[in-house]
């Protein structure tokens, strides 16, 4: 099973045994309220979602910190022709929300994306009213585009060079 360990976090590829935990996290108001899809997710819906993840080859990881499972980070819709993939992250464990761990997980996955998968670009969609996520993603080098999906979900892009420029500052600050 794929495991990425760097910057004090371990990212472990999600498996069938994680689905119920992730479903409960995803349904919690602290997480769901920041997502474009906010309806309740049933166990059956979760199974169907996981089936799609496996079919597409999306990479969803459980974020582990000192043996504790704290959230999920992902690379989905990996496109080696366009050389890009779409990222996402949520921290479910309250004691790890609004801490440096979000950056540690993002840098661990970012390094994997750009150095191992050798992608050139990352993309994300962020709701225009999710100010916290916008601040966060700008700080790691994402730039907003004019492309907005229904519901105010705006496309942001992250070029490899911007990632390295911004991640260097973060690593220096966190001394990692």
């Amino acid at each position: 099973m794929l495991k990425l360990e760097k910057y004090g976090v371990c990212l472990r590829l999600i498996g069938p045994d994680d689905l119920e935990m992730v479903r409960q996290w995803r349904n919690s108001p602290e997480v769901a309220n920041y997502m474009a899809y906010r309806e309740h997710i049933t166990p059956e819906m979760q199974q169907n979602w996981y089936k799609g993840v496996c079919e597409r080859g999306d990479l969803y990881f459980i974020i582990n910190v000192a043996g504790k499972q704290v959230g999920v980070i992902n690379l989905k819709n990996i496109d080696f022709v366009k050389s890009e993939s779409e990222g996402g992250i949520f921290i479910a464990e309250k004691s790890f929300q609004n801490t440096h761990i979000t950056y540690c997980a993002s840098l661990c996955q970012g390094d994997f994306s750009f150095e191992v998968l050798r992608l050139q670009r990352g993309i994300i969609h962020v709701l225009d009213d999710n100010k916290r996520a916008i601040r966060y993603n700008l700080s790691i080098g994402y730039k907003p585009t004019e492309e907005v999906e229904a519901g105010g979900n705006r496309l942001y892009t992250l070029e490899k060079s911007d990632y390295y420029r911004m991640s260097a500052k973060i690593k220096k600050a966190l001394q990692i």
Binding site: S95, F96, N98, T99, H100, I101, T102, Y103, K131, R132, R135, Y136, S139, K169, I170, K172, A173, L174, Q175
Partner: protein
């Protein structure tokens, strides 16, 4: 850096109006997020020559707790 300048830095990190912080505020009531945490650590290192551990910040509950982390390095 004195106490008022320290508060001004925190206000900048959290994109708050100038003069908003007095020291009694709970972090849960403020936009204290991951970016603010990293900005705080960088500020302490660059301007106060102080290495603040992320774990110390995770335990902080209020602006007063943040102040306590750097108080010895601030000018009177």
């Amino acid at each position: 850096m004195n106490k008022q300048e320290f508060f001004a830095q925190l206000e900048e990190f959290m994109e708050l109006d100038e003069g908003r912080l007095t020291g009694v505020e709970a972090l849960d009531d403020l936009p204290w997020d991951s970016l603010a945490v990293v900005s705080f650590i960088a500020m302490a290192d660059e301007h106060l020559e102080l290495a603040v551990k992320p774990a110390s910040l995770a335990e902080a509950k209020s602006v007063a707790d943040l102040l306590a982390l750097v108080a010895d390095k601030l000018d009177n």
